[in-house]
Symmetry: C2
Subunit: 410 residues, 2 copies
């Protein structure tokens, strides 16, 4: 069944991918209108999802599942914001002439059919659909079972919007919320160009392990902040608190603080107090606990853990080299930051740390499509193939070569 | 065992990836010298491979396995040519400032550890190794069993060159030529960043189906030439013969000729005769055989076949739309060409055909890193993720974001 849906998506995609920008933007506007028109039905479907939800569903999951008028208005505004983003398709990425007279250009085109596998977050349904559509792609949406009714209602609104703009509804299809659907999607090679899993580490690992379709790995972030010997300690403290506390549930939040031994005594007591006051549980190395006797003892496992919570691992290191070695061993290549006034140390850190985003004197929390100025994002890639870091519209495209000749043979 | 080799490659790679261009180029020069110095040992190893080869080995495979002084000189020249290519690492791909003052730049970095799986072609061992090294990557080479002694000898020369330049030999490792090694390589997630299979359709399909590590699909090309109603027929004939015959074994060779009904009678007799004279067996549709009574009858399977041989499928189509539909159904998204003097028809073809390379009035045989001016290529991608078409040095890289702040928090 999913294979058949994928086949229809693949058949429908070229019509969207070769349509002019105005027609794709018109489709997004029609989707925004359809979401507005159908808001009562969408909220009713969501209420039914909420009513059917297990009382054992964890609090954060319930919060992500629930929709209200304000959420819907934000979805609609989001759709219009994506429509207003600059066009990416057709962009000439490079052009040159060969000695034999062939004119070669490299032009941006859609990826094709994109599969999104996610959990019970109805917002992703709208978000992912419109980003994929704007970049000329068809999309297959496999959301969580708990949000099934909400996703179906949102999918119907998107379908109505597409059809009102003269496009086939097959361009955006909500898959059944079953394991079988996921399994079929992961084996739809030749029909689906890429899968993007969005969600917890377990979901992403499962997709990576099982998919036969190319996957873009997203998400896991064991992010570090290294307070160098030459750091502005007030800046370092403010950034540590911000990076840990401003949204601990997300992948760009700080998980491990590395403190140079040279400034440990000057930095840790005040920084520790500020973190503690913000509700952070500190798990420190032995050296850290000399300065923060109230801190819990960190174990090897702490250096590898993405807490996604108000918990912070803290380790005192002997200089830049040891900080680099720690990040090389325990980092997940997501976001890493150094706080220092020493330009040479900063340059070494930025050059040598292998991560999607490396920072000097700033919070890791900026690794985000919106914060980077992409207007929107479909996720944050932690792999190196195709896309790295925040993925916006450009990362949902490929390219082709157009070669103009005058009868050249080889 | 392969996992342990991959671990060593991963540990060695950052030292290469962060080394200045001169040091990497010096390593390539040392490899060139080591290949020259060890030429007798390499040729002796190759002679042993040839002696051990099964008498049932097909002719073309024997030809690819055999090395002589001339081949080795070509390898050495190839290494020096790669060393002379422009540096790609560190290139600033984009840079901008955010309203909050963050300075963001996107900088080219190596992919990391690359695995190459290929057949009994010792040339690939040198070729792939130096391209990967130039772009700052470590490489694991899994060649065919028939070339095992040649590959070991070549690998020893490469290792000697690396060490002479002060780099660890772990950067280029020749894996055992066993199925177990391939299987281990395909499950080395977290250690190997990408696998590139090079070889026949069977090899590529097996890697795509079995690998847990991201794969770049290369190779299969059912390439079409569409002779439009407004084609220069002499040009079309010359290109058809060239695209089919100049090297029928390669993926950018022509496999299916589509002839517009409007010019079938004017084009087919002379073009058919030219192809026949060049030794080409034609398998035509019913309409084609009215003009070429000597042609064999094509079946549905012919439209899907990459012959890699002097065989050509020929079909008469009713106009551009039918040509596009045929290519959409049977093409492998590799290289497609239209011959026409009608600019509007050409524009429609170039825009609507979904392939790595789309041509107007030129032979499909130009889809090649060298012909595109990349200096060298590691293969031709037929997927859309990461890289499409000929892959040169740039396609062996990723990027990272460098963000400079002054204490920004979010």
């Amino acid at each position: 069944m999913v294979r058949e849906m994928a086949r229809r998506a693949k058949a429908a995609q070229p019509g969207l991918g070769t349509a002019p920008a105005e027609r794709r933007n018109e489709a997004l506007e029609r989707i925004a209108l359809a979401l507005e028109e159908r808001s009562a039905a969408i909220l009713a479907a969501n209420a039914a999802d909420m009513a059917a939800a297990s009382p054992n569903l964890p609090g954060p999951m319930v919060a992500r599942l629930r929709l209200d008028e304000r959420n819907l208005a934000a979805f609609v505004a989001g759709v219009r914001a994506v429509a207003a983003l600059p066009e990416v398709l057709g962009e000439e990425l490079a052009a040159w002439e060969r000695p034999n007279g062939l004119q070669i250009s490299r032009v941006r085109v859609p990826l094709g059919v994109i599969g999104i596998i996610y959990e019970a977050r109805p917002g992703v349904t709208v978000d992912a659909a419109v980003l994929c559509l704007k970049a000329g792609n068809a999309v297959l949406l496999k959301g969580g079972r708990e949000a099934a009714r909400s996703n179906t209602a949102l999918g119907e609104a998107i379908a109505a919007g597409l059809e009102a703009a003269g496009f086939p509804a097959d361009l955006v299809q909500v898959l059944p919320p079953t394991r079988e659907a996921t399994a079929e999607l992961m084996t739809a090679t030749g029909l689906v160009d890429v899968l993007i899993p969005r969600g917890g580490a377990g979901l992403i690992r499962a997709v990576l392990e099982q998919s036969r379709v190319p996957v873009i790995e997203t998400g896991t972030g064991v992010c570090h902040l290294y307070v160098h010997a030459a750091a502005d300690l007030a800046m370092a403290r403010a950034i540590a608190v911000n990076a840990k506390c401003s949204n601990p549930a997300v992948c760009n939040a700080l998980e491990t603080l590395l403190v140079d031994r040279a400034v440990a005594a000057a930095f840790l007591p005040a920084a520790g107090a500020a973190l503690r006051q913000a509700g952070v549980v500190v798990r420190g190395c032995e050296e850290t606990r000399k300065h923060l006797p109230w801190a819990e003892a960190a174990t090897e496992a702490d250096w590898r853990t993405e807490y996604n919570d108000l918990i912070l691992a803290v380790r005192v290191v002997d200089g830049l080299q040891e900080a680099l070695a720690h990040i090389g061993t325990y980092g997940t290549r997501h976001s890493e930051s150094i706080i220092t006034a020493d330009e040479e140390a900063a340059a070494r850190f930025l050059h040598q740390v292998d991560a999607a985003a490396v920072y000097h004197n700033a919070s890791t929390r900026f690794t985000d499509g919106g914060e980077f100025g992409f207007g929107a994002e479909i996720g944050i890639s932690t792999q190196k193939l195709h896309a790295r870091g925040p993925m916006g519209l450009a990362e949902l495209t490929s390219y082709k070569y157009i070669i103009l000749g005058a009868g050249q043979i080889r």
